[in-house]
Symmetry: C2
Subunit: 156 residues, 2 copies
DNA sequence: CTTTTGCGTTGGCCACGCCAACGATTCATA
DNA sequence: TATGAATCGTTGGCGTGGCCAACGCAAAAG
C-alpha cells in the first residue's frame, strides 16, 4: 500500500460539519488525556468552573449553565462530592433542590485542571497564530450561540 | 428559577476545545437528523463519497481516507453492500483485501445525501456569512490537518 | 523458511449526550 | 384551601461514536 493514501476526499475535507467533528475528536483526545492525569474528565471541569464563576447553585442550574443533562450532573456531583471538591446540601428554602458549593480544595483542583487545559488548547491550536485563534473561537462562539438560541429556552 | 441562567461560564464559553465540542454536538444532531430521513448515518456518507471521489479501493484504504477504524469500516461496508449501494469482492491480486466499488445506485444515493448535508451545513452555519464560513472551514482545515500530521503515518 | 506486516472480521469497551420514570416538593390556579 | 402543573434530584437505560484486542489468513521482508 502507498502508505500515504490517508488524505480525506474533498467531500469530507471541505464539509464544515465533518471538519468540526474531526476537530472535536482531536480536542477530546488531547483534553481527556491531560485531565486523566489528574483523575478528572471534561464534565468535572465544567461544573467546577461554573461553580467558581457563578458561586453556589442548584444541580439543575448547573446543568443549564454547562449544557449538561440533569442526570449527568447528578453523577458528576456525586463523584466530586466524594473527593471533597464540592459540597452538596439540601436547600432550606426549597427542599427540592441541592445547593452545590465549591470547596477550597475544589478551587485548587480547578486551578490545576485549568493549567492542563491550557496545554491542551495550545497543542490543539498549534498551527494557528494568536489572532487566528481568536478568529476561530469568535466564529465558533457565534455558531454555538445561535444553535443554543434556536433550541434552548433562552441564551444571553 | 430565573429561566435564563443558561449562559455558560466564561471558562467554558471561551475555551476552544469546549466550543469545538459544542459545535460538534449541534453539527451531529443536524446532520444525523437529515441523514436519518434517507436511512443513512455519517459513516455511510464518508465511505460513499470516498469511493465516488477516488474510485474502488480496499476497506483498509477506505478507513485511512475517512479516518475510520477498520472494524467500523467493515460494518458500514456490510450495511451498504446489503443495500446494493456498493460492491465488495476479494482482490485477486492480494487475497487479503476486499475491493470495494460504488454502484450506480450508490452514486444516486450519494447525491441524495449530499443535498441533505448541504441543508445541514446551512442550518449549522446560519449566523455566518459566506466569507466567514470560508474562514471557519479554512481554520478548521489547518487544525485538523495538523493533528492528522502529528499522529497519522502521513498526510498530504 | 521464518518473521513481520498488513488485511478483514468479531466482539467488546467507555464516554457522551439523551430520554423516561419516579417520588418529593413547590407553585399556580381555581 | 384544595388540586393540577411544574420543578428538582435520582436511577436506569439507550444508541452512537471512536477505539482496542484478538483471531485467521495472506503477503512481504529478512
Amino acid at each position: 500500500m502507498d502508505s500515504t493514501d490517508d488524505t480525506p476526499p474533498a467531500s469530507l475535507r471541505r464539509l464544515p460539519s465533518w471538519l468540526i467533528n474531526q476537530a472535536a475528536v482531536h480536542a477530546q483526545r488531547l483534553v481527556n488525556d491531560r485531565l486523566a492525569t489528574a483523575g478528572a474528565r471534561r464534565y468535572h471541569y465544567s461544573v467546577l468552573s461554573a461553580l467558581a464563576e457563578y458561586g453556589a447553585m442548584s444541580q439543575a442550574a448547573l446543568g443549564r449553565h454547562c449544557h449538561l443533562d440533569r442526570s449527568d450532573v447528578a453523577g458528576v456531583v456525586a463523584e466530586l462530592t466524594g473527593q471533597d471538591l464540592i459540597d452538596r446540601e439540601p436547600d432550606p428554602e426549597d427542599r427540592r433542590r441541592n445547593i452545590v458549593t465549591i470547596t477550597p480544595v475544589g478551587e485548587r483542583f480547578l486551578a490545576e485542571l485549568r493549567e492542563l487545559l491550557a496545554g491542551a488548547q495550545d497543542e490543539l491550536l498549534a498551527p494557528l497564530g494568536g489572532e487566528e485563534r481568536e478568529q476561530l473561537t469568535a466564529l465558533l462562539e457565534r455558531v454555538v450561540g445561535h444553535q443554543a438560541e434556536v433550541r434552548g429556552s433562552g441564551w444571553s
